[in-house]
Every structure is written in C-alpha cells, then in structure tokens.
C-alpha cells in the first residue's frame, strides 16, 4: 500500500523540502499532472491505424446498442412507463468506455445519467432502469455487480468511490473504482473533497467527467472559468487528462490508461471527456430555452456512433455481418427494455416503505407499517390505565 506508506512517511518530514525555511528545492513538477492543450483524439488521426480491430468492433457494437437503449428508454418515458429518463444520447462513447475498461472486480459509481453504462456493465435493463421507473430507489445488488446505486445528489458519490478504493487497497485487493460525474457536478464541494482525499490517500480511483457542455441549462462557461476541467487535477496532485469523449477509441485509450495507472499504484486520475448532450436534460426539459438548434446540429456531425462507423469503414471493418450483429444486439436490448417495463407497473406494497429502513424495523416502524396496511392514521392509541 504505497500511498498510505507515503503519507505516513510524510508526517515525519512534516513538509516537503521546498517549504522549509531557506530550502531551495523545487516543488513537485506539475507538468505531468497537467492535461494536453487539446483533447486527445484517435479516430481520423494517424493513431487510428494502431487501434485494435477487435476492440473497435466491440466498442462500436456497444455504441449502437447504447443509442438504441437511449431511444427506447426515452420512448418508455414518453409513454409513462418510466417516471423520467435522463438520456445519454450523444454520450454513448463515454458510457461504453466506462463499462469496457473495468474488470469484474472493479467498481463503477454512476450518476442518474449513467444507466446505459450500468446496463453495458451487465446489469439487466429491468434493474438498471428500476429507479427511473419509479418503483424503487435502487434496482440491483451493488455488491453483486460492483456497481453503486445511481447517484442523484451531484458529486456526493465521488467520496464514496475514494473510500471504497481506499478500503479495497487496505484489504490488499486488486480493485479500481471508476466514478462518473458531469461538468456541473465538478463545481460541488464534494468533488473537491473527493479529489483531495484521493490525492492524499493515493487511492486507486479514476474520475471520469462527462463534460456534456451543460448542467441542465447552464453552459460550461458559466460553470467554471478554468482552461479545462482536467486542469483542476493539478490542485490535488492528481493526473489530469483531456480526451474527446465522442471518439470512442480515444476515450477507451485514455480512460483505460487511467485505470491501469490507478491499478498500478501510481495514483488517481481525473479524465475530462468532452462530449455533448444531444437530448434534453430529461424528457421533462425544454432545451430550446437555453441552446440553439445550430449548436446541436454541429455536434450531431461529431456523433460518437458516426465517428466509430467512420473508423470501422476506413479500417475496412464494417462489413455487413458486423453491422447486422450490432443492429441485432441493439434490438434485443430494446426488446428487453420493453419487456421489463410493461404498461402497468406491479402494485407496490406499503410494507416496502418499512422493511429496509433499519436492519430490524423498530417498534415504531412496525406500528406504522400496520397503520399503513390498514390505511389508518399512524396515531397511537393510548393504552388504558
């Protein structure tokens, strides 16, 4: 556990050399922690030639499935078969990569927008979308899938990822935690505190910021004034990386490297993936109030599915069979979604409110559960003298 030992050592030498009075030693060199001046790209660059064909095919298939997943879920929300759906259309490359770079023993920490990543990690659609259906708050067994519940309060799951990664390392387990967060979420105090802890503990955690340009209606330029979100990393002694989040090969490479780095004990990484939310914030949102069609159209031309197809086509990998297999997988996914969310949801039982509040319901909750069953006031009756 090198990170822990490092901080232990640091206590004795209470401050790095540069801080000592009269010391002339240089600071830790910030350069390796700073991102490149432009997002890393692979597709359409010379680097594309080096991409592994099998990986490219698999990622493409995930993108096609992902796009269909988003469309189907949006349709289900429109039909009232989901309570709400925050679509990741346009961000499928980030979603696919988040699922692809992790080993089964690693942990994923998704937000409300990341049901697709959760599903691509293996969680059945019925479970991945259960919270958004409205019948429960969770959906799957987090330990079984090593996937935390969808997190709605922004950035609050980031310290969880740090703590889990730290705990795994204390136990000597080979586990990396990958936490997703939006551009808006990086403004929250919990982002800062998680990055601070990750840096000090050198926890094996990767933060993947899906910078989709908007926090609901608020554009990035109103969110922070940094050169890039990836530049925040240096302030935590964490490596910052900037990647084109619509270029699935670039994202796969950068996020994959970050996970490998964390796994190898070299410390946490903050990756900013530049992407765009094509759909409204959720089906209830009206994006015409805050952004132009022209902007959306421009990003449409830089679509992750399209880019991946360009690559496959250029590399001679998009034969009919590949295309058909991808389309077939996508339709099976959509069918799974439709089957999982029939018109009429099963009636929930009032018991459900009380069962899991504590390990064992308190006397008061047993009383209240009985009242709920009876549709009665929970008001207690006085015991006669």
């Amino acid at each position: 556990m090198p990170g822990i030992e490092q901080s232990g050592t640091a206590r004795d030498a209470a401050a790095p050399a540069a801080w000592r009075p009269g010391a002339a030693g240089p600071l830790r060199d910030p350069a390796p922690l700073l991102p490149d001046t432009a997002p890393v790209r692979v597709i359409g660059t010379p680097a594309a030639a080096g991409a592994d064909p099998e990986t490219a095919r698999l990622l493409h298939r995930s993108l096609v499935r992902g796009r269909r997943f988003n469309e189907q879920a949006t349709a289900l929300a429109r039909q009232g078969r989901l309570a709400v759906y925050p679509s990741s259309t346009g961000q499928e490359a980030c979603q696919a990569v988040a699922a692809a770079v992790l080993r089964p023993g690693d942990w994923l920490f998704p937000t409300y927008r990341d049901t697709l990543a959760v599903h691509l990690r293996g969680v059945p659609a019925a479970q991945a979308l259960a919270l958004l259906r409205g019948g429960e708050h969770g959906g799957w067994d987090p330990r079984r899938w090593r996937t935390a519940p969808l997190c709605t309060p922004l950035a609050t799951h980031l310290p969880h990822a740090v703590g889990l990664a730290h705990a795994a390392r204390l136990r000597g387990d080979d586990v990396v935690a990958l936490a997703l967060v939006g551009d808006g979420g990086t403004s929250e105090g919990d982002f800062h505190e998680a990055l601070t802890f990750a840096g000090v503990l050198r926890a094996p955690v990767v933060f993947l910021v899906q910078n989709n340009q908007f926090a609901i209606s608020v554009p990035l330029a109103r969110q922070n004034a940094a050169p890039s979100i990836a530049h925040k990393a240096v302030g935590y002694g964490v490596a910052g990386r900037l990647v084109d989040g619509n270029d699935v090969l670039a994202a796969h490479q950068v996020v994959g490297d970050a996970v490998a780095r964390a796994r190898g004990g070299a410390g946490p990484v903050l990756v900013e993936a530049v992407t765009y939310r094509i759909d409204p914030h959720t089906n209830a949102d009206d994006p015409r109030r805050y952004r132009s069609d022209a902007e959306r159209t421009a990003w449409r031309a830089h679509d992750p599915v399209g880019l991946a197809e360009d690559h496959l086509r250029a590399a001679g990998l998009l034969d009919e069979e590949t295309a058909a297999a991808a389309a077939g997988a996508a339709e099976r996914t959509a069918a799974e979604q439709r089957a999982a969310f029939p018109d009429t949801p099963p009636p929930g039982s009032p018991e459900d409110l009380f069962t899991h509040v504590y390990a064992r319901p308190t006397a008061q909750l047993r009383e209240q559960a009985a009242a709920a069953r009876a549709g009665a006031a929970a008001a207690p009756r006085e015991v006669p003298a």
Binding site: Y112, H137, S187, S217, R222, R289, Y290, L353, A379
Partner: protein
C-alpha cells in the same frame, strides 16, 4: 389592467361577451413569479440567483422571464454549488443587497446547511444587529409529484429547529404572492418553502391587484368549525379542507382548519384560540412524524391548552422512513382518509 375588471358595459351584453369581470384563475407558480418581478421592480437591491434561474426560468418556471426583463446581473445563473450560492448571497446581503436564492429542490439545499445554520441564522445576532441578512431562500418542497429519490423531501423540521430563521410556507395563491413579497421585504432571513404539488393549483387571483394577506407570523382559519381543529400548512392544506368536507358529510363533524403559513414565528394565539374553542386537535403534515414539525406543534398546543383538551393532540404525518419512490408515495402521504381516522380517535365517547 383595470379594464378586465370593469368594461363599463353590463355583464353578458354584446359589448362584454367576456366572462364576468373577475380575477383569472392563476397558478401558484405564476403568483410567485409575479412576486419576484414586482419585488425586483420595486427595489433595485433585490437579486435572484440560483441554478437554472436564468434562461430556463427555473425547473418550475418560477423565475421565468426575470433574466430577460432585469438582466443577468439581477437574475443570475450560478455554478452548481449550493453552499457557494448561499454563501455568495450572504456576502451580497452583507453589502446591502437583498438576495433571493432558489434552491432547485429542498433536498439539494443540504450542501448549504452549514451556511444556513452557522451564518444565515446567526449573522445578525453575532454582530449585535450591525449585519442583518435580509435574504430569502426559496425551496420547492414536499412530494406528490411523482419525483424520484431526493425530489420529494420535506425538510422544514431542520429549519424550524434553527433559531434565527423565519420559516414560511404558502398554501394559497394569494399567500404565495403576499408571503413572498413579505419575505423579501423582511430584514431577517426567511426560508420560504414552496409546496411543489401546489405549483399548478389555481385560485382566482388578480396579478394587478393582489389581495393583501396577513403578515408573516400569522396563522389563518381557512374553515371555521366547532368540533375539532386541523392544524396544517402548505401541501396538506387542501387535504385537510377535503377531509373537513368529507367529515361533515360522513360523520357530521364540523372541523376547523387552520393554515399555519408561518412555522417560525409561530402564531400561538390563533392556534390556541381555535383549539380551546374546539377542545380537540390533529396536526397534519407530509414531513416524517418523529422529530417533525407536528411534534413542536402538538407539544406547544398541549402546554397551552391542556385543560381544554378532551383528547391528546394527534399527528397525521408521513411515516418515519426515507421518502418512498413515486409508485409508493400514495401510501406515505397523509390523505383525507388518514386524517379522518385520526379525528375518529379523538375520544368522542368521552367528550
């Protein structure tokens, strides 16, 4: 626009085929919007800030059009950081502005809790009156709108337990306007809780001549009655009104309904007068019961009216559980049936 009110022509004549001159049915969200607009027009030091309050007009559209009308310096989209929003508002108030902060949902105000408790509630007292904080924190609260996790909390108990705040919540369209104007005019910080599920409820209300409403700190009897008092506020007022109607019909009970409006300061006078008159009371709210608002209300009513009470003050509340998912929330929310069940337990046999 007084024209709507009186065209000079008799109603129903050809010259006046519009419906009878009466205020249009206005949704609560619209009245809140009007209150902000009027306050901003009346006082250049009033500033609105929060997440998505600008171009979008807020996720509930309560700030609709304000950025366009008053400019982005008066109605400002902030970065996504609630402690930062409220802390910035505190600094603005320290300089003499009157900030009105929108928290997108009350559950997303928790990151700002330290600012609320350690500064907003204490700055005036800390500085012996030299640095008052005339700011308003608007928070949509409560359930019943099919919201997923964290979108249906009722967090008024936390603010009630924090000395130095006013805690106000309207249940009618007129109060939405009148109390928000009063909150903005107040030299004390006000937590202004907006019942989400009443945003689109409508009352006849005239934006040009809004009704005067009683000030912050006064409760109002919404329905007089003789047999027992329902004490409630915000989203549960319509529930209690419905219960009272049903009670007459089904059981012959004549229930008085008191709308508290202001949880802090609390109107002991109006509340106790009602309970002394009826001798029985039920407190109704959505918030969980244990340690919830009803605890204080029941305790203080009992302290002050003990020998007038024929039965203990009962509480009908949300259960002591995390707010349930949308498909189960109807089990959680106090409805008229549960209210009437509690009324039935008020030991009538002994009355």
């Amino acid at each position: 626009m007084t024209t709507l009110k009186d065209t000079g022509a008799p109603p129903g004549t050809a010259e006046n085929s519009a419906p009878l001159p009466r205020p249009a049915a206005t949704p609560m969200a619209r009245a809140l919007n009007q209150a902000l607009r009027d306050a901003m027009s009346a006082d250049a030091s009033v500033h609105v800030l929060g997440e998505d309050v600008g171009a979008l007009g807020g996720v509930f559209r309560v700030t609709d059009g304000l950025a366009a009308e008053f400019g982005e310096d008066r109605c400002t989209d902030t970065p996504l950081a609630e402690a930062g929003i409220l802390g910035t508002a505190v600094g603005m108030a320290m300089y003499g502005l009157r900030p009105v902060v929108e928290m997108q949902f009350d559950a997303f105000a928790y990151p700002a809790f330290e600012q609320v408790v350690s500064h907003v509630a204490k700055m005036r007292n800390r500085t012996r009156g030299a640095l008052p904080l005339p700011l308003v924190v608007r928070m949509p609260y409560g359930g019943g709108i099919g919201g997923v996790e964290h979108h249906s909390d009722s967090s008024e108990a936390y603010y009630m337990a924090t000395p130095g705040l006013h805690v106000v919540t309207p249940a009618t369209v007129a109060d939405a306007y009148g109390l928000l104007r009063a909150a903005i005019a107040s030299d004390d910080p006000v937590v202004f809780l907006e019942p989400k599920r009443l945003y689109w409820s409508k009352d006849a209300w005239d934006p040009e001549e809004p009704d005067a409403v009683p000030p912050i700190g006064r409760a109002v009897v919404r329905r007089p009655g003789r047999d027992a008092t329902l004490l409630t506020y915000g989203p549960s007022l319509p529930v209690c009104m419905a219960a009272a109607e049903e009670a007459v019909r089904a059981d012959g009970w004549d229930l008085e309904v008191v709308d508290l409006r202001s949880l802090v300061p609390f109107d002991d006078e109006t509340v106790c007068a009602s309970v002394r008159r009826t001798g029985r009371a039920v407190v109704v709210h959505e918030s969980s019961g244990f340690g919830g608002p009803g605890a204080e209300i029941a305790a203080r009513v009992t302290e002050r009216c003990f020998h007038h009470l024929a039965a203990p003050v009962l509480r009908v509340t949300g259960f002591d559980v995390p707010y349930p998912p949308p498909l189960l929330e109807h089990h959680h929310l106090p409805g008229a049936e549960r209210v009437l069940d509690a009324v039935a337990r008020l030991q009538w046999e002994q009355g």
